[in-house]
Protein backbone atom coordinates (compact mmCIF):
# COMPACT_ATOMS: atom_id res chain seq x y z
CA UNK A 1 0.00 0.00 0.00
CA UNK A 2 1.50 3.27 -1.00
CA UNK A 3 1.77 6.11 1.51
CA UNK A 4 -0.83 8.05 -0.44
CA UNK A 5 -3.36 5.27 -0.18
CA UNK A 6 -2.61 4.80 3.49
CA UNK A 7 -3.30 8.49 4.11
CA UNK A 8 -6.48 8.33 2.07
CA UNK A 9 -7.67 5.31 4.00
CA UNK A 10 -7.09 6.98 7.34
CA UNK A 11 -8.78 10.14 6.15
CA UNK A 12 -11.84 8.15 5.19
CA UNK A 13 -12.02 6.73 8.68
CA UNK A 14 -11.80 10.11 10.35
CA UNK A 15 -12.15 13.28 8.28
CA UNK A 16 -11.55 16.43 10.33
CA UNK A 17 -13.62 19.37 9.29
CA UNK A 18 -13.18 23.09 9.61
CA UNK A 19 -16.11 25.42 9.29
CA UNK A 20 -15.93 28.83 7.60
CA UNK A 21 -18.75 31.32 7.57
CA UNK A 22 -18.38 33.57 4.56
CA UNK A 23 -21.48 35.63 5.13
CA UNK A 24 -24.18 33.16 6.01
CA UNK A 25 -27.30 33.97 8.00
CA UNK A 26 -26.32 31.56 10.80
CA UNK A 27 -29.07 29.06 10.09
CA UNK A 28 -26.70 26.85 8.11
CA UNK A 29 -24.09 27.20 10.85
CA UNK A 30 -26.43 26.05 13.58
CA UNK A 31 -27.54 23.11 11.48
CA UNK A 32 -23.90 22.08 11.13
CA UNK A 33 -23.54 22.28 14.90
CA UNK A 34 -26.79 20.38 15.30
CA UNK A 35 -25.34 17.63 13.13
CA UNK A 36 -22.55 17.23 15.68
CA UNK A 37 -24.85 16.95 18.68
CA UNK A 38 -26.42 13.76 20.09
CA UNK A 39 -29.54 13.52 17.88
CA UNK A 40 -27.54 13.30 14.65
CA UNK A 41 -24.07 12.66 16.03
CA UNK A 42 -21.69 12.69 13.08
CA UNK A 43 -18.87 11.94 15.47
CA UNK A 44 -19.78 8.28 15.11
CA UNK A 45 -18.25 8.48 11.61
CA UNK A 46 -15.09 9.88 13.16
CA UNK A 47 -15.93 13.35 11.90
CA UNK A 48 -14.61 16.05 14.19
CA UNK A 49 -14.82 19.82 14.12
CA UNK A 50 -11.37 21.34 14.56
CA UNK A 51 -10.30 24.84 15.51
CA UNK A 52 -7.65 25.49 12.91
CA UNK A 53 -7.59 25.07 9.12
CA UNK A 54 -4.10 23.60 9.45
CA UNK A 55 -5.55 20.53 11.14
CA UNK A 56 -8.41 20.08 8.70
CA UNK A 57 -9.07 17.71 5.80
CA UNK A 58 -12.42 19.11 4.77
CA UNK A 59 -13.68 22.68 4.69
CA UNK A 60 -17.37 23.24 5.29
CA UNK A 61 -18.25 26.61 3.81
CA UNK A 62 -21.56 28.32 4.50
CA UNK A 63 -23.02 31.48 3.06
CA UNK A 64 -22.52 33.62 -0.03
CA UNK A 65 -19.01 35.01 -0.40
CA UNK A 66 -18.92 38.69 0.48
CA UNK A 67 -16.30 41.08 -0.89
CA UNK A 68 -14.55 41.26 2.47
CA UNK A 69 -14.45 37.53 3.06
CA UNK A 70 -13.33 36.51 -0.45
CA UNK A 71 -9.62 37.14 0.21
CA UNK A 72 -9.83 35.49 3.60
CA UNK A 73 -11.55 32.37 2.30
CA UNK A 74 -8.77 32.01 -0.23
CA UNK A 75 -6.17 32.41 2.47
CA UNK A 76 -7.83 29.83 4.71
CA UNK A 77 -8.09 27.43 1.78
CA UNK A 78 -4.37 27.80 1.14
CA UNK A 79 -3.62 27.00 4.78
CA UNK A 80 -5.31 23.60 4.64
CA UNK A 81 -2.74 20.85 3.98
CA UNK A 82 -3.04 18.83 0.75
CA UNK A 83 -5.15 16.92 -0.22
CA UNK A 84 -8.09 19.12 0.73
CA UNK A 85 -11.78 19.02 0.03
CA UNK A 86 -14.52 21.61 0.15
CA UNK A 87 -18.22 21.11 0.88
CA UNK A 88 -20.53 24.03 0.14
CA UNK A 89 -23.38 23.88 2.66
CA UNK A 90 -26.59 25.72 1.83
CA UNK A 91 -28.07 27.34 -1.22
CA UNK A 92 -26.12 30.51 -0.53
CA UNK A 93 -22.82 28.67 -0.66
CA UNK A 94 -23.89 26.86 -3.83
CA UNK A 95 -25.04 29.87 -5.80
CA UNK A 96 -25.56 32.99 -3.71
CA UNK A 97 -29.16 32.20 -2.89
CA UNK A 98 -31.46 35.06 -1.92
CA UNK A 99 -28.53 37.42 -1.66
CA UNK A 100 -27.56 37.07 -5.30
CA UNK A 101 -27.33 40.48 -6.89
CA UNK A 102 -26.36 42.31 -3.71
CA UNK A 103 -23.61 44.86 -4.11
CA UNK A 104 -21.21 43.08 -1.77
CA UNK A 105 -21.93 39.54 -2.91
CA UNK A 106 -19.53 37.74 -5.22
CA UNK A 107 -21.78 34.69 -5.55
CA UNK A 108 -21.34 31.08 -4.50
CA UNK A 109 -18.23 29.65 -2.93
CA UNK A 110 -17.11 28.19 -6.24
CA UNK A 111 -16.41 31.70 -7.51
CA UNK A 112 -13.47 31.79 -5.11
CA UNK A 113 -12.29 28.24 -4.36
CA UNK A 114 -12.96 24.84 -5.98
CA UNK A 115 -15.87 22.90 -4.46
CA UNK A 116 -16.22 19.09 -4.29
CA UNK A 117 -19.71 18.58 -2.91
CA UNK A 118 -22.74 20.89 -2.99
CA UNK A 119 -25.44 20.55 -0.34
CA UNK A 120 -28.45 22.66 -1.34
CA UNK A 121 -31.23 23.65 1.05
CA UNK A 122 -31.95 26.76 2.99
CA UNK A 123 -30.81 25.67 5.49
CA UNK A 124 -30.16 22.01 4.61
CA UNK A 125 -31.32 19.63 7.33
CA UNK A 126 -28.57 18.04 9.40
CA UNK A 127 -29.34 14.77 7.63
CA UNK A 128 -28.57 16.44 4.31
CA UNK A 129 -25.27 17.76 5.60
CA UNK A 130 -24.34 14.28 6.80
CA UNK A 131 -25.28 12.93 3.37
CA UNK A 132 -22.94 15.51 1.83
CA UNK A 133 -20.06 14.36 3.97
CA UNK A 134 -20.82 10.71 3.24
CA UNK A 135 -20.89 11.50 -0.50
CA UNK A 136 -17.46 13.01 -0.15
CA UNK A 137 -16.25 9.91 1.65
CA UNK A 138 -17.59 7.76 -1.19
CA UNK A 139 -15.76 9.95 -3.65
CA UNK A 140 -12.58 9.36 -1.68
CA UNK A 141 -13.26 5.63 -1.65
CA UNK A 142 -13.45 5.71 -5.42
CA UNK A 143 -10.04 7.33 -5.48
CA UNK A 144 -8.65 4.79 -3.04
CA UNK A 145 -9.53 1.87 -5.31
Amino acid sequence: MSIYRLALWSRMKSPWIYHINTGSCNACDIEILAALTPRFDVERFGIKLVGSPRHADVLLVTGPVTEQMAERVKRIYEQVPQPKFVIAVGTCACSGGVFRGGYTIKGGVDTVIPVDVYVPGCPPRPEAIIKGVVLLLQKLKGEAK
Binding site: N26, L33, I105, R125
Partner: protein
Amino acid sequence: MSYAVDLLFGPQHPALHEPERFRFKVDGEIIVDVDVKIGFIHRGIEKLAESKNFIQNIYLTERICGICNVAHTLCYVQAVEDMAGIEVPERAKYLRVIVHELNRIHSHLLILGVAAELLGWETEFMYLWRDREAIMDIIEDVTGNRVTSAFNTIGGVRRDINNTQKERMLKVLDKVEKDTRFHKKVLEEDPLYRERMVNMGVLKTRDAIERCAVGPTARGSNVDYDVRAHDPYAAYDEIPFNVIRYKECDSWARMMVRVDETLESINIIRYALKHLPGGEIRVKVPPRLPAGEGLSRVEAPRGELIHHVFCKGDVKPYRLKVRTPTFANILAIAPTFIGHTIADVPAILVSIDPCFSCTDRLTFVDVSSGKVMKLSLGEIKRMYWSR
Protein backbone atom coordinates in the same frame (compact mmCIF):
# COMPACT_ATOMS: atom_id res chain seq x y z
CA MET B 1 8.33 49.30 32.04
CA SER B 2 5.14 47.97 30.57
CA TYR B 3 3.91 48.43 27.05
CA ALA B 4 0.80 47.33 25.27
CA VAL B 5 0.75 44.84 22.41
CA ASP B 6 -1.93 44.68 19.74
CA LEU B 7 -3.65 41.32 19.66
CA LEU B 8 -5.99 40.47 16.83
CA PHE B 9 -8.90 38.20 17.59
CA GLY B 10 -10.61 36.98 14.44
CA PRO B 11 -11.96 37.33 11.78
CA GLN B 12 -11.63 33.52 11.74
CA HIS B 13 -11.37 32.36 15.31
CA PRO B 14 -12.65 29.14 16.83
CA ALA B 15 -14.40 31.06 19.60
CA LEU B 16 -16.40 33.08 17.11
CA HIS B 17 -18.82 31.26 14.92
CA GLU B 18 -18.96 34.24 12.65
CA PRO B 19 -16.20 36.33 11.15
CA GLU B 20 -15.64 39.47 13.20
CA ARG B 21 -12.48 41.11 14.33
CA PHE B 22 -11.53 42.46 17.72
CA ARG B 23 -8.31 44.31 18.26
CA PHE B 24 -7.27 44.07 21.88
CA LYS B 25 -4.44 46.10 23.32
CA VAL B 26 -2.95 43.83 25.94
CA ASP B 27 -0.45 44.46 28.69
CA GLY B 28 0.80 41.00 29.54
CA GLU B 29 -2.46 39.09 29.92
CA ILE B 30 -4.62 42.06 30.80
CA ILE B 31 -6.71 43.86 28.22
CA VAL B 32 -6.25 47.63 28.32
CA ASP B 33 -8.18 48.67 25.23
CA VAL B 34 -10.48 47.15 22.66
CA ASP B 35 -11.58 48.04 19.19
CA VAL B 36 -14.35 46.21 17.32
CA LYS B 37 -14.38 45.85 13.58
CA ILE B 38 -17.57 44.57 12.08
CA GLY B 39 -18.66 44.28 8.48
CA PHE B 40 -17.08 41.08 7.19
CA ILE B 41 -20.41 39.58 6.32
CA HIS B 42 -22.23 42.69 5.25
CA ARG B 43 -24.59 41.50 2.53
CA GLY B 44 -26.36 44.72 1.58
CA ILE B 45 -29.77 43.42 2.58
CA GLU B 46 -31.42 46.83 2.95
CA LYS B 47 -30.47 47.67 -0.62
CA LEU B 48 -31.54 44.25 -1.90
CA ALA B 49 -34.92 44.73 -0.24
CA GLU B 50 -35.61 47.69 -2.51
CA SER B 51 -35.40 45.42 -5.55
CA LYS B 52 -37.82 42.79 -4.27
CA ASN B 53 -41.56 43.00 -3.73
CA PHE B 54 -43.27 42.94 -0.34
CA ILE B 55 -43.87 39.18 -0.32
CA GLN B 56 -40.35 38.32 -1.46
CA ASN B 57 -39.01 40.54 1.27
CA ILE B 58 -40.53 38.30 3.94
CA TYR B 59 -38.13 35.61 2.79
CA LEU B 60 -35.25 38.05 2.55
CA THR B 61 -35.74 39.55 6.02
CA GLU B 62 -36.07 36.06 7.42
CA ARG B 63 -32.55 35.46 6.24
CA ILE B 64 -31.10 38.50 7.97
CA CYS B 65 -30.54 36.15 10.85
CA GLY B 66 -31.23 32.46 10.72
CA ILE B 67 -31.53 32.09 14.48
CA CYS B 68 -34.07 34.80 15.31
CA ASN B 69 -35.77 34.52 11.92
CA VAL B 70 -39.30 34.60 13.36
CA ALA B 71 -38.60 37.90 15.11
CA HIS B 72 -37.39 39.37 11.81
CA THR B 73 -40.36 38.25 9.75
CA LEU B 74 -42.76 39.31 12.50
CA CYS B 75 -41.18 42.73 12.77
CA TYR B 76 -41.17 43.20 9.01
CA VAL B 77 -44.78 42.14 8.45
CA GLN B 78 -45.92 44.29 11.36
CA ALA B 79 -44.15 47.29 9.87
CA VAL B 80 -45.84 46.67 6.52
CA GLU B 81 -49.22 46.18 8.22
CA ASP B 82 -48.68 49.39 10.15
CA MET B 83 -47.91 51.18 6.89
CA ALA B 84 -50.93 49.85 5.00
CA GLY B 85 -53.32 49.90 7.96
CA ILE B 86 -54.07 46.18 7.84
CA GLU B 87 -55.93 44.61 10.79
CA VAL B 88 -54.69 41.11 11.63
CA PRO B 89 -57.22 38.49 12.87
CA GLU B 90 -57.05 37.61 16.59
CA ARG B 91 -56.18 33.97 15.99
CA ALA B 92 -53.23 34.95 13.82
CA LYS B 93 -51.93 37.19 16.59
CA TYR B 94 -51.94 34.32 19.07
CA LEU B 95 -50.31 31.97 16.58
CA ARG B 96 -47.63 34.57 15.98
CA VAL B 97 -46.95 34.74 19.70
CA ILE B 98 -46.68 30.96 19.95
CA VAL B 99 -44.15 30.63 17.14
CA HIS B 100 -42.24 33.71 18.29
CA GLU B 101 -41.85 32.21 21.75
CA LEU B 102 -40.86 28.79 20.39
CA ASN B 103 -38.20 30.61 18.43
CA ARG B 104 -37.04 32.36 21.60
CA ILE B 105 -36.74 29.07 23.49
CA HIS B 106 -34.68 27.51 20.71
CA SER B 107 -32.44 30.56 20.52
CA HIS B 108 -31.87 30.73 24.29
CA LEU B 109 -31.11 27.01 24.63
CA LEU B 110 -28.76 27.35 21.67
CA ILE B 111 -26.71 30.16 23.17
CA LEU B 112 -26.62 28.53 26.60
CA GLY B 113 -25.12 25.50 24.90
CA VAL B 114 -22.65 27.51 22.86
CA ALA B 115 -21.58 29.38 25.99
CA ALA B 116 -20.89 26.11 27.76
CA GLU B 117 -18.90 24.89 24.78
CA LEU B 118 -16.79 28.05 24.68
CA LEU B 119 -15.95 27.58 28.35
CA GLY B 120 -14.77 24.08 27.51
CA TRP B 121 -17.76 22.33 29.03
CA GLU B 122 -18.72 20.18 26.12
CA THR B 123 -20.94 17.80 28.11
CA GLU B 124 -23.40 20.54 29.00
CA PHE B 125 -23.35 21.76 25.39
CA MET B 126 -24.33 18.31 24.16
CA TYR B 127 -27.08 17.94 26.76
CA LEU B 128 -28.57 21.37 26.06
CA TRP B 129 -28.58 20.76 22.32
CA ARG B 130 -30.11 17.36 22.77
CA ASP B 131 -32.98 18.94 24.69
CA ARG B 132 -33.26 21.72 22.14
CA GLU B 133 -34.02 19.17 19.42
CA ALA B 134 -37.43 18.60 21.06
CA ILE B 135 -38.26 22.26 20.40
CA MET B 136 -37.01 22.00 16.83
CA ASP B 137 -39.43 19.10 16.37
CA ILE B 138 -42.46 21.13 17.42
CA ILE B 139 -41.33 24.11 15.37
CA GLU B 140 -41.21 21.77 12.39
CA ASP B 141 -44.59 20.35 13.33
CA VAL B 142 -46.24 23.77 13.49
CA THR B 143 -44.45 25.75 10.80
CA GLY B 144 -43.31 23.12 8.34
CA ASN B 145 -39.55 23.55 8.66
CA ARG B 146 -36.92 23.27 11.34
CA VAL B 147 -35.37 26.68 11.00
CA THR B 148 -36.53 29.07 8.31
CA SER B 149 -40.22 28.70 7.59
CA ALA B 150 -41.67 32.17 6.85
CA PHE B 151 -44.56 31.42 9.19
CA ASN B 152 -45.62 35.07 9.40
CA THR B 153 -46.99 36.68 6.32
CA ILE B 154 -48.49 40.06 5.58
CA GLY B 155 -52.02 40.00 6.99
CA GLY B 156 -51.64 36.97 9.26
CA VAL B 157 -49.90 33.62 9.35
CA ARG B 158 -49.52 30.86 6.76
CA ARG B 159 -50.60 27.81 8.74
CA ASP B 160 -53.15 26.92 11.36
CA ILE B 161 -52.70 24.43 14.16
CA ASN B 162 -55.15 21.69 15.12
CA ASN B 163 -55.92 19.90 18.36
CA THR B 164 -53.54 16.98 17.86
CA GLN B 165 -50.69 19.41 17.27
CA LYS B 166 -51.73 21.29 20.40
CA GLU B 167 -51.64 18.12 22.48
CA ARG B 168 -48.27 17.16 21.08
CA MET B 169 -46.90 20.61 21.78
CA LEU B 170 -48.08 20.62 25.39
CA LYS B 171 -46.49 17.25 25.99
CA VAL B 172 -43.15 18.38 24.58
CA LEU B 173 -43.31 21.63 26.54
CA ASP B 174 -43.68 19.69 29.79
CA LYS B 175 -40.54 17.77 28.99
CA VAL B 176 -38.64 20.90 27.97
CA GLU B 177 -39.68 22.61 31.18
CA LYS B 178 -38.37 19.72 33.24
CA ASP B 179 -35.08 19.74 31.33
CA THR B 180 -34.71 23.50 31.64
CA ARG B 181 -35.25 23.38 35.39
CA PHE B 182 -32.52 20.77 35.58
CA HIS B 183 -30.15 22.94 33.53
CA LYS B 184 -31.01 25.95 35.66
CA LYS B 185 -29.95 24.08 38.76
CA VAL B 186 -26.75 22.93 37.08
CA LEU B 187 -25.79 26.37 35.80
CA GLU B 188 -26.63 28.00 39.12
CA GLU B 189 -24.61 25.62 41.22
CA ASP B 190 -21.72 24.40 39.12
CA PRO B 191 -18.61 25.91 40.76
CA LEU B 192 -16.52 26.00 37.57
CA TYR B 193 -19.23 27.71 35.54
CA ARG B 194 -19.66 30.29 38.28
CA GLU B 195 -15.92 30.75 38.50
CA ARG B 196 -15.76 31.62 34.81
CA MET B 197 -18.92 33.74 34.61
CA VAL B 198 -19.51 35.55 37.91
CA ASN B 199 -18.09 39.08 38.00
CA MET B 200 -17.08 38.88 34.33
CA GLY B 201 -17.85 41.86 32.12
CA VAL B 202 -19.79 43.82 34.71
CA LEU B 203 -22.18 46.25 33.02
CA LYS B 204 -23.65 48.55 35.70
CA THR B 205 -27.32 49.46 35.46
CA ARG B 206 -26.51 53.10 34.72
CA ASP B 207 -24.01 52.17 32.02
CA ALA B 208 -26.45 49.75 30.45
CA ILE B 209 -29.04 52.50 30.15
CA GLU B 210 -26.54 55.08 28.97
CA ARG B 211 -25.08 52.80 26.29
CA CYS B 212 -28.56 51.71 25.20
CA ALA B 213 -28.15 48.01 25.85
CA VAL B 214 -31.23 45.97 24.99
CA GLY B 215 -32.72 42.55 25.63
CA PRO B 216 -31.24 40.03 28.06
CA THR B 217 -28.04 42.10 28.19
CA ALA B 218 -29.97 45.03 29.69
CA ARG B 219 -32.19 42.84 31.86
CA GLY B 220 -29.12 41.07 33.27
CA SER B 221 -28.10 44.55 34.45
CA ASN B 222 -31.43 45.03 36.20
CA VAL B 223 -32.92 47.34 33.57
CA ASP B 224 -36.68 46.93 33.38
CA TYR B 225 -37.07 46.96 29.62
CA ASP B 226 -38.88 44.47 27.48
CA VAL B 227 -40.74 45.53 24.34
CA ARG B 228 -43.29 42.76 24.90
CA ALA B 229 -44.32 44.40 28.16
CA HIS B 230 -43.74 48.08 27.45
CA ASP B 231 -44.97 48.40 23.89
CA PRO B 232 -47.08 45.25 23.42
CA TYR B 233 -47.50 43.94 19.90
CA ALA B 234 -49.38 40.89 18.53
CA ALA B 235 -51.29 39.40 21.50
CA TYR B 236 -48.86 40.29 24.26
CA ASP B 237 -51.22 42.84 25.79
CA GLU B 238 -53.61 40.00 26.68
CA ILE B 239 -51.06 37.52 27.97
CA PRO B 240 -49.70 37.80 31.52
CA PHE B 241 -45.96 37.25 31.97
CA ASN B 242 -43.05 38.49 34.05
CA VAL B 243 -40.12 40.56 32.86
CA ILE B 244 -37.07 38.68 34.11
CA ARG B 245 -34.36 40.76 35.70
CA TYR B 246 -31.15 39.97 37.55
CA LYS B 247 -29.26 42.32 39.81
CA GLU B 248 -25.75 40.87 39.39
CA CYS B 249 -24.94 42.77 36.15
CA ASP B 250 -22.34 40.18 35.05
CA SER B 251 -22.05 37.49 32.39
CA TRP B 252 -23.61 34.94 34.70
CA ALA B 253 -26.68 37.13 35.26
CA ARG B 254 -27.13 37.57 31.52
CA MET B 255 -27.08 33.81 31.02
CA MET B 256 -29.51 33.21 33.88
CA VAL B 257 -31.93 35.75 32.39
CA ARG B 258 -32.04 33.49 29.35
CA VAL B 259 -32.73 30.39 31.43
CA ASP B 260 -35.60 32.07 33.27
CA GLU B 261 -36.96 33.56 30.06
CA THR B 262 -37.11 30.08 28.58
CA LEU B 263 -39.34 28.99 31.45
CA GLU B 264 -41.42 32.16 31.08
CA SER B 265 -41.82 31.54 27.33
CA ILE B 266 -43.12 28.05 28.04
CA ASN B 267 -45.82 29.57 30.25
CA ILE B 268 -46.68 32.14 27.58
CA ILE B 269 -47.15 29.38 25.01
CA ARG B 270 -49.31 27.36 27.39
CA TYR B 271 -51.49 30.39 28.06
CA ALA B 272 -51.74 31.23 24.36
CA LEU B 273 -52.70 27.66 23.47
CA LYS B 274 -55.36 27.61 26.14
CA HIS B 275 -56.88 30.93 25.12
CA LEU B 276 -56.44 30.52 21.37
CA PRO B 277 -59.40 32.33 19.76
CA GLY B 278 -61.17 30.90 16.73
CA GLY B 279 -61.63 32.45 13.31
CA GLU B 280 -59.55 33.31 10.30
CA ILE B 281 -55.76 33.12 10.29
CA ARG B 282 -55.09 35.70 7.59
CA VAL B 283 -56.66 38.47 5.60
CA LYS B 284 -56.04 39.00 1.90
CA VAL B 285 -53.67 41.82 1.05
CA PRO B 286 -53.23 43.34 -2.42
CA PRO B 287 -49.70 43.26 -3.84
CA ARG B 288 -49.62 47.01 -4.43
CA LEU B 289 -49.71 48.95 -1.18
CA PRO B 290 -50.49 52.62 -0.63
CA ALA B 291 -47.74 55.17 -0.02
CA GLY B 292 -46.72 55.69 3.56
CA GLU B 293 -44.32 54.56 6.21
CA GLY B 294 -44.54 51.98 8.96
CA LEU B 295 -42.53 51.15 12.04
CA SER B 296 -42.51 48.10 14.21
CA ARG B 297 -40.66 47.07 17.35
CA VAL B 298 -40.29 43.47 18.45
CA GLU B 299 -38.49 41.82 21.36
CA ALA B 300 -36.20 39.42 19.50
CA PRO B 301 -34.35 36.79 21.56
CA ARG B 302 -31.36 39.15 21.67
CA GLY B 303 -33.23 42.37 22.34
CA GLU B 304 -35.20 45.09 20.71
CA LEU B 305 -35.48 44.84 16.94
CA ILE B 306 -36.80 47.66 14.76
CA HIS B 307 -37.96 47.56 11.15
CA HIS B 308 -38.92 50.72 9.33
CA VAL B 309 -40.55 50.52 5.90
CA PHE B 310 -41.25 53.30 3.40
CA CYS B 311 -43.42 52.84 0.35
CA LYS B 312 -44.27 55.14 -2.53
CA GLY B 313 -47.39 53.30 -3.63
CA ASP B 314 -45.59 50.47 -5.36
CA VAL B 315 -45.25 46.68 -5.16
CA LYS B 316 -41.81 47.19 -3.64
CA PRO B 317 -40.69 49.13 -0.59
CA TYR B 318 -38.87 52.37 -1.33
CA ARG B 319 -36.64 51.84 1.67
CA LEU B 320 -36.29 49.27 4.44
CA LYS B 321 -34.34 50.14 7.55
CA VAL B 322 -33.40 47.48 10.07
CA ARG B 323 -31.96 48.10 13.49
CA THR B 324 -30.78 44.97 15.24
CA PRO B 325 -30.08 44.26 18.92
CA THR B 326 -26.48 43.08 18.69
CA PHE B 327 -25.51 46.36 17.12
CA ALA B 328 -26.55 48.08 20.35
CA ASN B 329 -25.18 45.43 22.68
CA ILE B 330 -21.74 45.06 21.14
CA LEU B 331 -21.02 48.73 21.75
CA ALA B 332 -22.39 48.51 25.28
CA ILE B 333 -20.30 45.49 26.14
CA ALA B 334 -16.99 46.42 24.44
CA PRO B 335 -15.65 48.61 27.29
CA THR B 336 -16.31 45.88 29.85
CA PHE B 337 -13.52 43.74 28.37
CA ILE B 338 -11.01 46.17 29.83
CA GLY B 339 -9.26 44.81 32.91
CA HIS B 340 -10.03 41.16 32.17
CA THR B 341 -7.64 38.58 30.75
CA ILE B 342 -7.60 37.24 27.21
CA ALA B 343 -8.98 33.91 28.40
CA ASP B 344 -12.13 35.65 29.61
CA VAL B 345 -12.96 37.19 26.25
CA PRO B 346 -15.20 34.34 25.05
CA ALA B 347 -17.03 34.26 28.41
CA ILE B 348 -17.92 37.93 28.14
CA LEU B 349 -18.60 38.01 24.43
CA VAL B 350 -20.94 35.04 24.45
CA SER B 351 -22.98 36.55 27.28
CA ILE B 352 -24.51 39.13 24.93
CA ASP B 353 -25.36 36.35 22.48
CA PRO B 354 -23.66 38.12 19.59
CA CYS B 355 -25.16 37.65 16.19
CA PHE B 356 -23.19 39.42 13.55
CA SER B 357 -25.02 38.33 10.48
CA CYS B 358 -27.65 40.94 11.31
CA THR B 359 -25.24 43.54 12.61
CA ASP B 360 -22.77 44.15 9.85
CA ARG B 361 -22.94 47.68 8.50
CA LEU B 362 -21.24 49.51 5.72
CA THR B 363 -18.77 52.33 5.98
CA PHE B 364 -17.51 54.09 2.92
CA VAL B 365 -13.78 54.09 2.50
CA ASP B 366 -12.05 56.24 -0.02
CA VAL B 367 -9.73 53.59 -1.42
CA SER B 368 -7.02 55.95 -2.66
CA SER B 369 -6.51 57.66 0.69
CA GLY B 370 -7.94 55.06 3.07
CA LYS B 371 -10.17 57.72 4.59
CA VAL B 372 -13.43 56.63 6.18
CA MET B 373 -16.41 58.81 5.28
CA LYS B 374 -20.01 59.11 6.23
CA LEU B 375 -22.24 59.88 3.27
CA SER B 376 -25.84 60.88 3.09
CA LEU B 377 -28.17 59.11 0.70
CA GLY B 378 -28.24 62.22 -1.50
CA GLU B 379 -24.48 62.35 -1.79
CA ILE B 380 -24.25 58.68 -2.72
CA LYS B 381 -26.85 59.22 -5.40
CA ARG B 382 -24.97 62.16 -6.77
CA MET B 383 -21.63 60.34 -6.73
CA TYR B 384 -22.60 56.91 -8.04
CA TRP B 385 -25.98 56.86 -9.62
CA SER B 386 -25.84 60.01 -11.69
CA ARG B 387 -23.28 58.40 -13.98
